[in-house]
């Protein structure tokens, strides 16, 4: 079965964090994830979004991509070049987000290319529950 790819484009304002969290919640719950895993992904989605908001220009949008491949769930966001996250506070927030994301996900990757940075987190959901798709 091919992986499901869902993209969410949303204004880069922290007030939308709940919408992102709820989207993650709804998508991950379809896999039959345990409550523990689901809540980790909710935390990750929120942190990822707030992190991206910090980098995105005001009045712009953030696109989060969810990829659900069986019990493997990933979320990624592109951070464009020339972002506003240049001050010391933003660096601290980024480091903090990294700390949280690394703690709740199995895999954390921040890569750069000409267009900017690409942040991706991935989690393999616990295998105890097998009611996927319910």
């Amino acid at each position: 079965m091919p992986a499901d790819r869902i993209t969410l484009t949303i204004p880069s304002r922290a007030e939308y964090a709940k919408a992102v969290r709820m989207t993650a919640s709804a998508l991950v719950s379809r896999t039959g994830a345990t409550y523990d895993d689901l809540d980790d992904m909710r935390i990750a989605a929120e942190e990822l979004f707030v992190y991206a908001c910090d980098h995105a220009d005001e009045e712009s949008e953030v696109t989060i991509e969810f990829l659900i491949d069986g019990d493997d769930v990933s979320m990624s966001v592109r951070l464009p070049q020339g972002t506003r996250a240049t001050d010391e506070d933003a660096e601290r927030r980024a480091a903090y987000a990294t700390f949280i994301l690394q703690s709740v996900c199995d895999h954390y990757q921040l890569s750069s290319d000409l267009e900017g940075q690409h942040l991706k987190v991935r989690k393999r959901l616990s295998a105890e529950s097998d009611d996927a798709g319910s």
């Binding site: 719950s29 345990t34 895993d37 927030r93 700390f99 703690s103 105890e128 529950s129």
Partner: protein, 262 residues
């Protein structure tokens, strides 16, 4: 007479009070220290309290309790009312009484806007989670929780979001908030820990942590430093998984804000 009556003597829905008598009672209470006048004022305006309390009747609390709470607001209003101000006592007392009622709901734990249906569902989800964790010896899935309660998965997710509206302070006092917990995360993390790299120095971290209770620090420590799952933390601290979830979310938010601000 506090309640208006129509020409047939029936009690009218419209609430009116005798302004002249009100002024006289306030004068006696304030200038002569007449406590009977104060009591009379309380009795006289009890219908205002009942009316305001009834506006909160659908929020899951007995109206009698609400009337008691509202009466506290009324007494405060009577004691604070400035008789020299050209304002009706009802105008002054209404926000005080409503404020007292709202505070009551906040202290009960629920933010005022959460509908009762969702409050109940949230409690059911919470209970189901505990029961199923026990039965399955692992964290249950959303559909398992849904099946257990007899609702849809979407409703469970809705209840989980609803629980965010729960007042965190009251959770503290529910369990483990008896003041005996003196846990401080600072005692457990070393200079090589990742979080230390985030905040540069211990003083910054200490300042940020000041905003967290010992229980919150303990949850934070167990989840992010010891790597325990929420189920394991819930078991260790004897609280529900949902409480762990709420505590974690609050902790992360507070820390994120204060790591920068301090």
């Amino acid at each position: 007479m506090p309640v208006a009556r129509d020409s047939a003597g029936r009690q009218s829905r419209k609430l009116t009070w005798d302004k002249q008598l009100t002024r006289e009672l306030f004068r006696r209470y304030r200038l002569e220290g007449d406590e009977d006048a104060r009591d009379e004022l309380i009795t006289m305006y009890l219908n205002l309290v009942k009316y305001l309390a009834s506006r909160f009747r659908n929020r899951g609390e007995p109206v009698d309790d609400l009337v008691q709470v509202g009466t506290i607001g009324l007494i405060k209003a009577i004691d604070r009312f400035d008789i020299d101000r050209q304002v009706e006592f009802t105008t002054y007392a209404t926000p005080t009484i409503v404020g007292e009622l709202k505070r009551y709901f906040r202290d009960k734990g629920w933010a005022i806007k959460v509908p009762r249906r969702l409050q109940e569902l949230s409690f059911k989800v919470n209970q189901a989670m505990d029961v199923l964790t026990q039965q399955l010896q692992r964290s249950p899935s959303i559909s398992e929780i849904a099946a257990h309660i007899g609702v849809t998965s979407e409703e469970v997710l809705e209840a989980m979001e609803t629980s965010e509206a729960y007042n965190f302070v009251s959770l503290e006092s529910d369990r483990g908030g008896d003041g005996s917990d003196t846990f401080s995360i600072l005692e457990y993390i070393g200079k090589d820990d990742q979080l230390m790299a985030v905040v540069d120095d211990r003083t910054t971290l200490a300042a940020a942590l000041r905003h967290l209770t010992p229980q919150e620090q303990r949850v934070l420590y167990l989840r992010f430093f010891e790597g325990l799952t929420q189920t394991e933390i819930a078991r260790q601290l004897d609280i529900s998984q949902m409480q762990v979830s709420r505590l974690l979310r609050k902790t992360l938010k507070v820390l994120r804000e204060n790591i920068v601000r301090e």
